[in-house]
């Protein structure tokens, strides 16, 4: 069955070619408010290869959440194209988008967004329910997911009985349960203290190490420092897109087992054509 756990095989390390998980072409989003048009995104172009760990930064109002919502298929762009693998999702119907969210995307929110009346394990189970994948073994699977994020002993607690960090772990477990292509996180550590932030980031790091593609919005440099690549937005435009030099060191310190030397993908191999003029040189394969 779905096993997005840490032991998942790293598909990219085996073959040399990299698959583009996500491709944005001149993506635009306008909001119309009482006759006024707000250009939240003014044409953003970049690619995300499979296995990337990307953070999106930028000042408040620069369009980070807007971008993430488009990528997460919660909304449709008003211009440009958005490819998920080979599929153009920018013109899909509401039902098709729901289907994509159910099968390919795992969402993690700043405010955790667990359903209060459900227990932890039931919360983790919800995506399976909408995928029509509930079976006799799915409960067991969800318990494993809870175990994976270190909450195996809190299965029947309600969200209100968990700390913020624990709730966010549960939310991550929920985002993983349907074995998605991406995990999308909008300021996942925004409501957490430094120590918990670090725990959550390590969890993301481990997931990425196991092959999950992760796109995370943040406005904290310390958080962005954990990721492989940083895209910065300003006024709905991409300011820069660069490889994170500090990646690995920030992520790896004190965790020898996670600082694996070779990287699954090299975004550089696929991105040149797609990058905007102002983007810096594509990141090279990074290593200490």
């Amino acid at each position: 069955m779905n096993n997005p756990g840490f032991a998942a095989s790293d598909s990219n390390s085996g073959n040399g070619s990299t698959n583009v998980a996500l491709k944005l072409e001149d993506l635009q989003k306008d909001y119309f408010l009482k006759g006024e048009t707000v250009h939240a995104l003014n044409g953003v172009t970049f690619e995300v290869p499979e296995g990337d760990f990307l953070s999106i930064m930028g000042p408040s109002g620069s369009g980070k959440s807007t971008l993430l919502n488009l990528v997460g298929c919660l909304d449709r762009p008003t211009g440009g194209k958005l490819y998920m693998g080979p599929d153009d999702v920018s013109q899909m119907s509401d039902n098709q988008l729901s289907q994509i969210r159910a099968t390919r995307i795992g969402f993690v929110f700043q405010s955790f967004n667990l359903i209060p009346q459900l227990t932890l394990v039931e919360n983790i189970e919800v995506p399976l329910y909408y995928q029509g994948k509930l079976s006799r073994t799915s409960r067991k699977h969800c318990e494993e997911m809870a175990d994976l994020v270190g909450l195996g002993d809190r299965l029947n607690h309600r969200p209100a009985q968990l700390s913020g960090g624990q709730q966010q772990r549960a939310a991550i477990a929920r985002s993983l349960v349907n074995d998605p292509f991406f995990v999308l996180a909008d300021e996942p550590t925004g409501n957490l203290d430094t120590k918990t932030t670090e725990e959550i980031l390590h969890l993301f790091g481990d997931l990425n190490k196991a092959g999950k593609t992760i796109v995370m919005v943040t406005h904290e440099d310390e958080v962005a420092a954990f990721t492989r690549r940083v895209i910065r937005l300003r006024d709905g435009l991409m300011e820069f897109d660069r490889k994170n030099d500090s990646f690995g060191s920030a992520y790896g310190h004190g965790r020898a087992d996670l600082t694996a030397p070779d990287q699954p993908t090299s975004p550089a191999a696929t991105s040149p054509a797609a990058t905007s003029p102002d983007s810096p040189a594509p990141p090279a394969a990074e290593e200490p």
Partner: protein, 442 residues
């Protein structure tokens, strides 16, 4: 399986607000229970009315004497009014109308009846043996009036159960002699009847009949001893009336001939039309009318019950709209992690179906309590407010609710349909929400 999960989820959500859910259920519950109750009581009343009319015999025609409302003014202080059916009418009817199988002449007079020092207020009924059959009287002991007794004008009588009990609390009445007040002649008791339920008034022309005061004698004996004229002295003046027959019950040879015969009977008695001192009652006609009335009654009750169900449905809609607003964020979360619009609709519809279904089930349970409740209520009222009960019309006082079988699935079905109909709009609203907006909702 999935559907089951949806419902389990719905129940869980509803249990988060037990009070609110219970009140919503109450609305549907009252609607369902009232559908069943109203139809059951309506059915009980109409079946009772029908039974009483059938008691008159659908193949009978009843001709009665009626005291004219405005008797010709007499002037003198000794006035005797003659009206009603004549023995000649009786002879004419049986000899000219072949579809009349037999005719039962009846004469009724109120009299006080005495045995030793015990006196009861009674009704002396003069008739023929067939009377017992037509009015469904059953003999407990002895026998009813016989043809021989009518022929010989025997001074015999048959007592109703109640009269017998009052006059003879200790003795065996058979063979005893009772007296009619103001008369010297005795009547010898030859039979005692079983209890016979009173009949209600039918139409305007046939008053309620209470058999508990009756003393039956051969009509021939009555004529010889009492005659046709009864005189009442009242403060110096004498008033009286002459009536030959109070009623003739005609038995028709076939029910198909009833209406045709009725027309002939009316023609035959047309010489009474001017004074209006007779009336023809056709039970079959009344029966048909009663059936129509029943149908209208049912529709009327159904409308009332339907309105209460509608109110229950509005209650559901109200609660669900509040719930949807309250759970906007949950809807956003569910949409973000894969629910499509239909999933959201399904989720909220499941909740309304649970609400209305539970209301329906409890309503049915309460519906089945209709009969015991009504009987209990009547018992309580009879014990604590007997005069109030006595003032109610017979059919209402004696009503025994009869649950109309179709009302059970009907009420439940309507409840669920209403749940779905009124739940659809809130569920649709929930599904139409923009996931991003919903997620932002506090």
């Amino acid at each position: 399986m999935l559907i089951l999960r949806t419902f389990v989820l719905g129940i869980k959500s509803l249990l988060l607000h037990p009070m609110r859910s219970a009140l919503t259920v109450l609305g549907i519950f009252i609607g369902v229970a009232s559908v069943i109750w109203l139809l059951a009581i309506g059915e009980g009343i109409s079946q009772e009315a029908q039974r009483q009319i059938e008691g008159l015999g659908a193949d009978n025609i009843i001709v009665r004497s009626i005291k004219p409302l405005n008797p010709p003014a007499g002037g003198s202080n000794s006035f005797i009014l003659a009206y009603g059916l004549l023995r000649s009418d009786y002879d004419k009817l049986i000899s000219t109308i072949p579809t009349i199988k037999s005719a039962i002449p009846i004469r009724e007079i109120r009299r006080e009846i005495r045995f030793r020092d015990r006196v009861v207020d009674g009704r002396l009924v003069g008739s023929v043996p067939e009377y017992a059959e037509v009015t469904q009287l059953q003999v407990d002991r002895g026998h009813f009036i016989t043809d021989a007794e009518v022929k010989l004008q025997d001074p015999h009588c048959v007592l109703s159960k109640e009269v017998a009990e009052k006059l003879f609390p200790f003795e065996d009445p058979i063979g005893r002699r009772i007296y009619i007040l103001d008369h010297l002649d005795y009547y010898q008791v030859v039979g005692v009847l079983k209890h016979r339920d009173a009949t209600a008034a039918v139409g305007g022309s046939l008053s309620a009949q209470d058999f508990s005061k009756d003393v039956y004698v051969p009509i021939s004996t009555m004529r010889r001893r009492i005659g046709d004229t009864i005189v009442v002295r009242r403060s110096g003046s004498r008033e009286g009336q002459t009536v030959e027959l109070d009623q003739i019950t005609l038995r028709i040879n076939s029910i198909a001939n009833v209406m045709k015969t009725a027309r002939l009977v009316k023609t035959s008695l047309s010489h009474h039309d001017e004074t209006g001192d007779t009336a023809v009652v056709i039970p079959k006609e009344l029966l048909d009318q009663a059936r129509n009335t029943r149908l209208m009654f049912m529709v009327f009750m159904g409308v009332i019950a339907g309105i209460s169900l509608l109110v229950g449905g509005i209650g559901i809609m109200n609660i669900m709209l509040a719930t949807v607003t309250e759970r906007t964020r949950e809807i956003g979360i569910r949409r973000a992690i894969g629910a499509n619009r239909a999933d959201i609709v399904r989720q909220f519809l499941a909740e309304t179906i649970v609400l209305s279904g539970v209301g329906g089930f409890i309503g049915i349970a309460a519906g089945y309590l209709c009969k015991p409740s009504v009987l209990l209520l009547r018992y309580v009222l009879e014990s604590y407010a007997p005069q109030m009960i006595a003032n109610l019309p017979d059919v209402v006082r004696n009503v025994v609710p009869i649950i109309v079988p179709v009302s059970i699935p009907l009420a439940f079905g309507i409840a669920v349909v209403i749940g779905v109909l009124f739940g659809l709009y809130p569920a649709y609203r929930a599904a139409q929400m923009d996931p991003i907006e919903a997620l932002r909702h506090e």
